[in-house]
Each structure stands twice: as structure tokens, then as C-alpha cells.
Symmetry: C2
Subunit: 155 residues, 2 copies
Amino acid sequence: MSEHSHNVDEAMETFHKRLQDAGLKSTKQRDIIVEAFFRLDRHISADELLDEVRKEKPTIGYATVYRTLKLLVEQDLAVPKNFGEGMTRYDPIHDQEADHDHLICVDCRKIIEFNDEAIVARLAEVAQELGYSVRRKKLEIYAECQIKNCPNKAS
Amino acid sequence: MSEHSHNVDEAMETFHKRLQDAGLKSTKQRDIIVEAFFRLDRHISADELLDEVRKEKPTIGYATVYRTLKLLVEQDLAVPKNFGEGMTRYDPIHDQEADHDHLICVDCRKIIEFNDEAIVARLAEVAQELGYSVRRKKLEIYAECQIKNCPNKAS
DNA sequence: ATGAATGCAAAGCGTTTGCATCTGG
DNA sequence: CCAGATGCAAACGCTTTGCATTCAT
């Protein structure tokens, strides 16, 4: 937990640095939104995040949330993801940490994160062979649970 | 080319079979749309496909194109893709062929297809370890060209 | 004949934008 | 001060849907 909040503090620090470097302003709204974004630390959607930040400041408009998420993406502090739900989810990037991938259960839509070095390494090779260098990747495995009578099965 | 059209014929045959199996109807519109979809054979968007089919039958409505694409996805003859352009693209699935992945140039947005056995194999292992079996995957590498003064660079 | 498919227009949904107001540096 | 940020509402673009009509079986 304390380690967790430390990561949030770190992320906020990075965020403020990026704002300053870009000549942008630090505002109360941005702080609330970005803090919640890194605290919750999960593939969150704009309106889930809006719900959260309004607990602290009910006057925050959804446009500000969208604009702040866009800002985070531009500053490489968040990655937009699309799991075919009709809206965009955003994953926080914790500086050092390699960005993870997702396994999505086709039955219950449960989302599991994973990270595999072998895949990352091979990806770099493939890109190299094609004459490119990887900037970022998006890998999603859609799979079904092997357990019989899995309680998560939708049907 | 003749091999190519052969694949289209094969795809049409499969499509008609799936329609019959599902108790759905074969219509002139569906034939035109699906034929164009497999003939063009590239990550196509709904309105690009609409433009194409209207060359042959200008009265086709966009709703029919959307509904047919949805049908193709349900029948596992197409895969929806999202490259962050604000709309969905669809990739035809040629029965035998393993579904390929994409490398997207972050500069010029050029999209290169690739297929790597090592990655596919490792993916299956990862899913296995997590207690899942892969049904399908989505892998996109966002990368930049290594060539200096690449003519494709946007900036 | 009869349930499904079409085409149109309208609605829906997530997201973006114009604009007047406010605020941080 | 003044460029940038906010909040609201309206606009947007892609996609879905309701409905009367047409069509395949």
C-alpha cells in the first residue's frame, strides 16, 4: 500500500515536470484527475474516471477529463486501449516498468495482465527485420478458460 | 491474380455455407458486399467498403454494409481492428491462413502485415500458463522507420 | 406467406470543440 | 496581465436501430 501510494507520488512528480517542460499549467482539476488515474491504476475509461474525480470535486466537467487523458497520452504517461467495448480505456505508464499486455476472457470478459520477455524480445527482432524499431506495442490475447464449469463463464 | 480470385470464390462459398447453416438468407446486397470485401482483401473501413459496393449498386445503404460486416465477424470471416483512427477496420479471414499481425509506422501510418511463428508459439504457452487457451489475438507494433530521411516520415 | 433483409432517417454513443469565463504563472 | 484551462452545451463522426417496404425461401 505505502509502496503503491509512493508510485502515485512519483507519477505526480513526473506529471508536474512534464507540464513545466511543456509550458503548461498545473491546475487543481488536473491534479485531481491525474492523481485518481494513477491511484486507481487500472485500464479505466473516461467516464469511470469522471465518476471518481467527481467524488472529490463534483463540478469537474467531462471535457476536462477527456482533455487531461489526451494530455497524459501525449506526455507518454498513459496508453489508450480498445477492447472492443465501444469506448477507449487508458492504462497508466509507470516510468520504469515495461508496458504489459492483456489476456481477455472471451466468456466473462475478465482481463488479466501479463508480461513476457520472450515475446518482447522477439517483437524487437521482427521489427528490426522489417527495418523498424519498436516504440510501443499492443498485444491482446482473446482466450477461453480451460476449467470446466468455470464460474466466470457467461453462458 | 487467378489465384487471388480463386480465394475470393472460396471465401464466397464458405460465406454461403455459413449463411445456410445459420438459416440466414443470401441476398444480392450481401453477395456484392462480401465479394468486394474479400476481393479488396485489406484492412478496410465500413465507408471505404460502402464506396466500393456502390460502384456496382449505388442504392446500397450504409446500414446494410455495417450489418453485413457484423455478420462476417459473427461468422468468423472477418476480424475488427482498431488502429486509433476513430473507426473500425475489418480484416478478412482466409480460412486456412493464420491471422496475421500489424506493424504500424508511427510517422506515416503505413501498415505492414507480418506473421511470426515464434510469437504465436510463445503466446500459446503464456495463455496455457494462465489457464487459458487462445482463441484469437491482436498484436500491433507501433514503430518508427530506421532509415534517415525516410520519404514516408510525416514531419 | 412469412420471417428475414433492406434502405432510409433518426437516434445513440463516446469523444471533440467553440466560446465565455476563470485562473495560474 | 494574459495565455492557457475550465465547464457547459453543441457539434461531431462512427455505428446502431426503428420502421415500413421488399425479398428469399
